[in-house]
Amino acid sequence: MDEIKKEQTTTHKIGIYLWIWGLLFVLSFFSYMVDWYQFQGLLRWSLILFFMFLKAGLIMAFFMHLYWERYALVNVLLWPMTAIACFVGLMVAEGKYTLFSRLFYFFVGGG
């Protein structure tokens, strides 16, 4: 029962793949430039994250065909990411807190 009875024949035009391919190169180049020009601070972070999510989104949407999949699959795959997002957020806070404690008690001497 492994095959779908009706053969899935729809494929996508080659143009869309080439487009995405090109875009990925361009975006990778841009994110490389972020380092090349040594942007710092908030600008660097927002650029890195922006290019990263854009690239990831393009790969998932078009190369992995998620854009054409039905919402049932897409939602099943994306909702668990909220747990990751929560984990990331809390660990950012935790990391900062640990660093603060270490600096405060071991270097500043905040007894």
Partner: protein, 237 residues
């Protein structure tokens, strides 16, 4: 939603009402999705959590160390024509991996079009791209080891730098290597026509089908996807 398969007796609805209808229906929840493909997706979801845990640990470890973190754009710089170019090798590796991801996407497309030759050669190209990537990673590792970077210490700063570097890129590299092995196997199977005639696999009761190329493709794109995050968090941060 142009690629909805046709299923006898089932009417596809678009968007979220379609999602509700799919979920409420009998037999399958992911309509028209091959078992193996669904399985690969769920596996990748699980694998995403593995890599997320690695990267979260790395972030937490790096954020909480008072010792200075080595500057990746200097550590990973390469001398080209006597000038140190930051992240040169990494940039090339990224380029190679994206290239291989593109060829893989095309392989899937030609597979579904039952273009056996084209599909096979594109898989070979993907595998070669993967091999190049692994080769360059070996080069990068040996260069760093030569410079005195070890999992437990390094001359540039916080010891965790080396630990996380070897662990995360090593885990990713393992994924790439496994992918390359499977790419070669699938290339053979494609050329041998297993997918055209529906030959059974070695360990499974499944009949061969070009959907297997897409399943492998999902894995390969995932490896690329992870590299996007590693590139952003490890090399650019």
């Amino acid at each position: 939603m142009s690629s909805d398969p046709k299923i006898e007796g089932y009417k596809f609805k678009p968007g979220y009402s379609g999602m509700a209808a799919d979920t409420a229906s009998d037999q399958t929840m992911f309509k028209g999705v091959h078992w193996g493909k669904a399985m690969m997706w769920i596996f990748l979801l699980s694998d995403t959590f593995i890599f997320s845990c690695f990267l979260i640990s790395y972030m937490k470890g790096r954020a909480s160390t008072p010792v200075e973190w080595p500057n990746p754009s200097e550590v990973f710089a390469l001398n080209a024509f006597g000038v140190p170019v930051p992240l040169l090798l990494i940039a090339i590796m990224t380029f190679v991996l994206i290239t291989s991801s593109g060829t893989m996407a095309l392989a899937v497309k030609y597979g579904y079009e039952r273009n056996r030759k084209m599909c096979g050669w594109l898989i070979i190209a993907t595998a070669l791209g993967g091999l190049t990537f692994v080769g360059m990673q070996v080069f990068e590792w040996s260069k760093l080891i030569h410079e005195g970077v070890r999992p437990w210490e390094n001359p540039f700063g916080a010891a965790q730098f080396g630990s996380f570097f070897f662990m995360i890129t090593g885990f990713h590299g393992t994924h790439v290597s496994i992918g390359v092995i499977f790419l070669f196997i699938y290339a053979y199977k494609t050329f041998a026509g297993h997918y055209d005639e529906g030959k059974r696999g070695w360990f499974t009761t499944m009949k061969g089908d070009y959907v297997e190329i897409e399943i492998l493709g999902l894995y390969w794109h995932f490896v690329d996807l992870v590299w996007v995050f590693i590139f952003a968090f490890f090399y650019l941060w």
